[in-house]
Every structure is written in C-alpha cells, then in structure tokens.
C-alpha cells in the first residue's frame, strides 16, 4: 500500500514525514514526532483527550488521518508555552486547580484556547458548550470553567 510524503507545520516548526495512508494524526504526533502531550483516551471520537488545533480549529486527532494534515498547521499542547512562559490558559489551569489526573487537560486547554481566540469574554454557558466534546472524570468541570475564565481575563488585560 502506498505511503505519502507530507509536510506540515507543528507548533510553528516545519515537519515532513513519509506516512502510510492509515496513520492517524495522533500517532504521527506522539510516535513520529514524540509530542506525547496529546493524549489518546477513548480512541473512538468521544473523549477529546487527543484534541489539537488544525489551522486554529480544535479537532479530535484520533479521527483525522496524518495525510489529511498535509500542508496544514497543527498546534499541540507543547505549542502553547512561548519563550519559557506559560500561556494564560496554562496559568489558569495552574491557578484555579483546573486538573486532577491531568489526562484531559491538554485537550481542555486547546478547546479553551480556540474559544478565547473567537470570543474574548465567553459566558459560563459558552465555555461549557465549547468544552462539551472534552470529557473529564475528575474535576466535575467547575475548576476547568474557572481556569478558562481566568485565562479570558488575563488575555483581555494584554
């Protein structure tokens, strides 16, 4: 079966790879590029632990083929920090205790980032809607919502 030469940008860096047709984006990120911040949870398009931004839009990377990302920009949790400084959303999860086990956290943060990119002052309902494709089994979501609200405020101040 054929393989495909793909080129994509991951967290701002150009990457190229020779991938089989059936390779999933999440496996390209974790295994080929060793970016293991993107988690595999349910592997059935339910949990959102594998959420990444594809051209700025949050998607479940277990349900995208690596070859579909050819020529596109991918952002993973590793791409949030800039010059050793945490992204406001990362600060928010820290400050508001937005995680316990941490498994859903990368996906939650990327869904939160995408929301804040299009809506600077989301309501609680809008935040809950935006993370409704990401499952958390620990927190009960309350502190996750607070963490995203914290980030929204920080980002408005800038």
């Amino acid at each position: 079966m054929a393989t495909h030469r793909i080129e994509l940008s991951v967290n701002g860096a150009k990457q190229s790879a020779e991938v089989p047709s059936r390779l999933l984006l999440v496996h390209l990120l974790r295994e080929n590029l060793r970016l293991t911040g993107t988690h595999i949870g349910c592997d059935t398009t339910h949990c959102g632990a594998c959420t990444v931004l594809l051209d700025g839009t949050p998607v479940k990377s277990c349900t995208v083929l690596a070859v579909q990302a050819d020529g596109r920009e991918v952002t993973t949790v590793e791409g949030l920090e800039k010059d050793g400084k945490l992204h406001p959303i990362q600060e928010g999860f820290w400050e508001k205790h937005g995680l316990q086990c941490g498994y859903c956290t990368p996906g939650m943060m990327l869904s939160g980032c995408a929301l804040l990119a299009r809506n600077k002052s989301p309501s609680e309902a809008e935040i809950r809607e935006a993370i409704s494709g990401n499952l958390c089994r620990c927190t009960g979501y309350v502190n996750i919502v607070k963490a995203i609200e914290y980030a929204a405020e920080k980002m408005r101040e800038r």
């Binding site: 079966m1 054929a2 495909h4 089989p20 047709s21 059936r22 999933l24 496996h27 592997d43 059935t44 398009t45 339910h46 959102g48 959420t51 839009t57 949050p58 998607v59 479940k60 277990c62 349900t63 995208v64 083929l65 070859v67 579909q68 050819d70 869904s111 809607e129 935006a130 409704s132 494709g133 990401n134």
Partner: protein, 290 residues
C-alpha cells in the same frame, strides 16, 4: 485502533474524484469530514480499499440562497451551518439540528453531505431534510442528478447514491412566510445518537390553520421515518394541544424503533410521540413569530 490498510487519494477537482470513484467502484469510499467513516474503519465495522478525500476540492463548502432555494455545498461543515445567519433566518430547524450533532469538536470536521450520505438512521440531518422536502444533488460520471429526499434513504446505511457518485449539494426550498420548523432531540449526553428525535416544519394559512406539515423521526427505524399520516391529519387543523397530541400519536404509530442501551421499543415509541408534539409546538411558535 488502526484501520485496515487502504490507499488514500486526494483529488483536487470534482472530475478527478468522480473518475477515481468510478475506477475503484465498490472498493472506494468518499472521505468527507471523516467523523463517521474513520471511526467505522478503526472499529473495523467497515473496510475500504480506497479512500477518496474530497477535502482538497475547492467550491464544495457554501451556504447560499438562490431563486427561493437554500443551497448547501455537500462538504459544508456542521460548524458553518451552526454559525450561519442565513440558516438561522431562513431555516431555524437546520440550526437546531446542526447544534445537537455529536459535539463541537466533531462538528468542526463533520459535513452535512456526510451526515446524509452515510445513511445512518441515527444521524440527525435526514429527518430534518425530510421535514424540509429537500433535494440531494449527486455528481457522477454522467453529470448531475437530483434526488428527492424521499427517494434517498434506501435502507440501513444504504442510500440512492451509486458507486462513482458524490453528494455535492443539498437544496432546500425556502419556507414561505408564516412557516416555522424545529428539531427536538432526546439524548443521554452530549455527543450521543438520539434516543429519539423529531423534526417538524409547518406552514400556516391566513386563518392560522396548517396548510402544510412536514414531520420526520430520527433513530426510529432502519431508515429515517416520514410520518405521512400525522402530516395529512394536520392539514386544515388549527394548532392546539389536541392537534399536536393527535399528530404525536400518529407519528409514534409510524415508527419501528429497535431496543438497545438507549431504551426499550415502547419507551422509544413513547418518546417519539412526546417529541413530535414538542417539535410541532416549537415550529408553530416560530411560524407565528412568537
């Protein structure tokens, strides 16, 4: 989970895509948003020797109104439908539907055409398109073919699309003044398929009575169910709790749900009855501008 091996093709024109699909026949599947197809391949509930990705073909994502028809490109994402002011203004039932499909992350990739072409009676758009009397445009080796929605859903996971054809457009007649529609879905949690769901699109005459009613159900049989008797019953009747209730009863009679973890047959039929009444009530409120 990793799908079985397949070859991947990314044509950049519709003609090229149709040629690839025609060449590979039954062994080929169209990859649109991939949010139903990839899980199916990963779970190995289905196989494909060739995937033809239509995501690199320009011009298949649009929502526009032309000559009294709402035209939606087959590859239009659910998220685009959800955010469209045109959809909210002209066919709010479609907005209702898009926003309860799967979850927001899935809706960023999932497409309207895929939701219909997959032929899954659990998908949400089919009932709404039946209520709206939509048409589906299929593009194949011999050009375009327009399929009325009533002829589109042939059986479980089976549609009227032939090998070599791609669903390229959905056409919805813009509802006349004093029309309203609503889609009401019962789901156990965000992202689940409907336990039951009802689509209702109505038009009211000058005296306030129904001149037209389109009613259909999701996950209530091997194909989406059009509730013909309930539709016929309503024409000429005035909207009232009694007429909604009788239409709900007739709709429940029309369905043949199967028991699963979402509930027993009797429960699902009862939900179909209740949801039909609620969808009609909401549709009438919109039609009356309330």
């Amino acid at each position: 989970m990793i799908p079985s091996q397949f070859d991947y093709h990314a044509p950049t024109t519709l003609a090229e895509a149709v040629a690839l699909l025609s060449r590979f026949g039954e062994g080929a599947k169209v990859l649109s948003g991939g949010q139903s197809l990839l899980p199916l391949l990963k779970l190995r509930l289905g196989t494909a020797e060739h995937l033809v990705d239509i995501g690199r073909i320009p011009g298949l994502e649009y929502i526009k109104e032309e000559g009294g028809v709402l035209k939606i490109g087959g590859r239009t994402r659910e998220s685009a439908l959800e955010q469209s002011e045109l959809v909210k203004a002209k066919a709010p039932i479609l907005h209702d539907t898009a926003r309860v499909i799967a979850d927001p992350l899935v809706r960023n990739l999932a497409t309207v055409g895929g939701n219909l072409a997959h032929g899954d009676p659990g998908n949400d758009h089919p009932a709404t398109m039946l209520a709206l009397d939509a048409q589906v445009v299929a593009t194949g080796p011999s050009g375009e073919r327009v399929i009325p929605i009533d002829q589109f859903f042939v059986g479980l996971f089976t549609t009227a699309l032939r090998p070599g054809e791609i669903l390229t457009e959905i056409r919805i007649p813009v509802p006349p003044p004093h029309s309203g529609g609503a889609y009401v879905k019962l789901e156990r949690k965000v992202g689940d398929y409907a336990t039951a769901a009802a689509a209702a699109q109505v038009a009211l005459g000058p005296n306030g009575a129904f001149v037209k009613a389109g009613i259909a159900l999701t996950n209530a049989g091997p194909t989406p169910v059009r509730c013909t008797k309930a539709q016929q019953f309503l024409v000429g009747k005035r909207p009232s709790d009694n007429s909604f209730a009788e239409a709900g009863r007739l709709a429940a009679e029309a369905c043949s749900p199967s028991a699963d973890r979402r509930g027993a047959v009797d429960y699902k039929r009862e939900m179909a009855r209740v949801l039909t009444g609620r969808a009609l009530k909401a549709a009438v409120q919109r039609a009356e501008g309330r």
